[in-house]
Amino acid sequence: MPDADKRFAEEWRDAAYNCFSSGHKFCREVCPVMQVTRNESWSPTAFHANVVAMEKGELEISDVAADYVNCTGCGACELRCPNSLFTGDFYRFRTRTVDLVKAARALAVSQDVHQDAWRRWNAETDERSHEPVTEAAGQERVRDWAEGLELAIGGETILFVDCEAAFHRTSVPRAVARMLNLAGYKFGLMNEQWCCGGPAAEMGYEEQARRFARHNLDDWRASGVRRVLVLDPHDYITFTEDYPKYFGDDYDIEIVLVVELLAELVREGRLTPHIPVERSVTYHDPCRLNKRKGVWREPRELLRAIPGLTFTDVDRVTQWSYCSGGGGGLPIEKPELTARISASRIDKAAELGVDTLVSACPWSERPLSEAGRARSIDVVDLFELLATSLGVAP
């Protein structure tokens, strides 16, 4: 067994045994990949058991690297794991399947075991400093979404816009910027924004991820940034989990989640949605907000503040088993699997008889919109909807 495999197995051995020895698989029916494929090789349990098999010399990372593609990083398995459920409250223990999958992917890349589409994607990201989410994605176009909004560059507080929103779902950051302006909240844009590096880290390209993170942190430091507003849940994970791991105590940037900030502004009366939006909606809990960060109140609070909406809610725990399929690099390597997961999510919305599915994650909105078209369900972003009701439609 290669040394790197051995080190990996040693690092993850105890965690893997905790899962392997119980072997009870509560995770399986909440896992979005497992739900549509029914393939146990791609279950969170298998991801742990493989580590035990590696430790015993039965497997090498090259045998299983392609299996580890089949994870959206949604975190449902961690919440549903009996080991998390019962010791979590007392010792803050949480089964760390998402981290394990990331580590396995990084191990594969470190041994030159690549997934073709991921390798191309990350190489292009490296060239452009941004993910190739559209043909046009690149450094010179990164602020195009803000055209006409006359936003300042730099300042103590900046708005960080993820690649998908900056180049594809541009109405989302426009909505956010216009609402913050309306509330008189002062912010600027980043001097030279690169991709946050999170996607590279998720696909196993760790060196690249760290390089991008270093660039962004240096850029913030150089222009005196103290606070970063984040509208994308994926960025939020990167900035609050990956960056602290990379930079340790040096990392002293305050990260503010835009959905929480807007809920506060509405609560304080600095923003008052007043234009009725006549839609029948349900809300899609983005995995990285609901399952990984426990953020589910504020989006509902905002939806309930919009007049005219008929809001049919599905509780956050039921939504542990929902996912758009848009995370963890899955749509890049296995778009057909993402499409099946998002179709399954749209089916659940369709059963409620709503005309609109509201999300709060730009990365979920492309696959969900595609699936929604087949069922005549509109997919809109919470921020677009809120901005419309505030009279500052993007």
Binding site: F20, S21, G23, K25, E29, S43, A53, E58, D63, L85
Partner: protein
Amino acid sequence: MTVTALSDPVLGELRQILGDEHVLTGKADRLNRARVPAPFPVHRWAERLPDLVVMPGSTEEVAEVLKLANRLRVPVVPRDGGTGLTDGAVPLRGGILVDVKRLNHIKDLDLDNRTCTVGTGINALKLNERLAVHDLIYPDDPASYPCSLVGGRIGTSGWSLIGSRYGHTRDLVLSFDHVLPSGQVIHVGDGIGRKITKSSSGYQLKHLFMGHQGTLGIATEATLKLFPKPEAEFSPFWAFSDYADAYRCVGLLARAGVATFAGAVLFDEWKVAYLRRDDEAYIPQPSSVKALVCAALYGYADEVEAGGRRLMRIARDAGARYLGDEISQGDWAARHDRYATPLHGRTKSGQVAPMSWHCEDASINYTNLPSVRLAWHEIADRLRRESDVFDDWGMFAYTNGATGADYLTEIDIGIWEQRLDDRTWAAWVRAKRDLAAVALAHGGSISACHGSCREGEVDLVPQELGGGFEVMLQIKRALDPHNIMNPGKYLLDQAYGAPS
């Protein structure tokens, strides 16, 4: 075996039947279908690999696979949730593993006859999410409720926590499509349609094709009995200062004849001591608390309230101390998730060790519970003296039915599985045989719930079944002349001339 499952013609034919995507040959695909939660030394994991895995999408595909296997004499092992505790889904002789998880569709929901027909790869929790919009439930409720699948429940003839109210799997599954080892598809159950609950026409074959642990074929589509979703649930917990009082009380509760009574559980003094010592989720009780009892009632609010008052009175008169609504509600909800909770046990010196939970069950009459308990703890104590990889986590006894005749009796043993070597494994197998012998010596059954085909316990199955075991061999030989279905289980090789 004339060919191995992996030879090219077999692989080619399987790919033709199922499509390339649903024939898996990778090492990880096979490793991850070679295990169940029952303990097994990890260094021997690779002994139980299937040669390949197929994932059929229809009854017809399952039938084609079995025809092929029967023609070529290749072993076939069915696997559904793989959550069983008697190794039913574990291949002992390689061959083709038939993973039926893709058969998870709801084919029919009949609100007027209160039935639904589903693929056997569906999970009851997921099914109940769909039934909830119609205010219905399918009340098959094992500890593995979030992950076990209907086909596995049929193959093991499963036991349900609320079986005293709604019955167990054999009562709840009305009928099913079953693929015989020859590949022939039959429909098993009462009546010519799918939805008859009682007939007296001909042999009652349904029970024969439940609990066979995959040795008689594969169920692919099942029709299930549905009930109104209970409007109310009441689950009182009571504390006692000694086991004898708790034992007396649980008997009184179970025999009370309350219609909404869904089950009762007795925790013995080892169990309470263990919870106190090592379970993070346990809400500490004064040290005077030595045993616990809980009961559960399900139904309409007015029925549950009246029945609940009666049980509360019975318990109070029996000297019980009610633990209050908060503990009662929380702990009962937790029962469903108390499957793998503790991440650790202790060595004899008190050192914390990473251990996982393993549960051995039997069916025991009420009157024999106290003596079985003592005999079983003695066996657990011997294990503990033999090695620090074992820890005694106490016993539960759960009512099997509404009259209080017998109980699923369970001893939980913590096992430090990373350290399980050949010597400790042999000790474990011996202990399993001894646990089973105690159950039989007390007029019980080796298992109420899991089945009894693992090493150790399986040796005593002929003793339990008596002349019935010979009938079992004859049936096996008649239905599976080439011994392709899950060979090596339940001593059934004896049907083909292996020494007994």
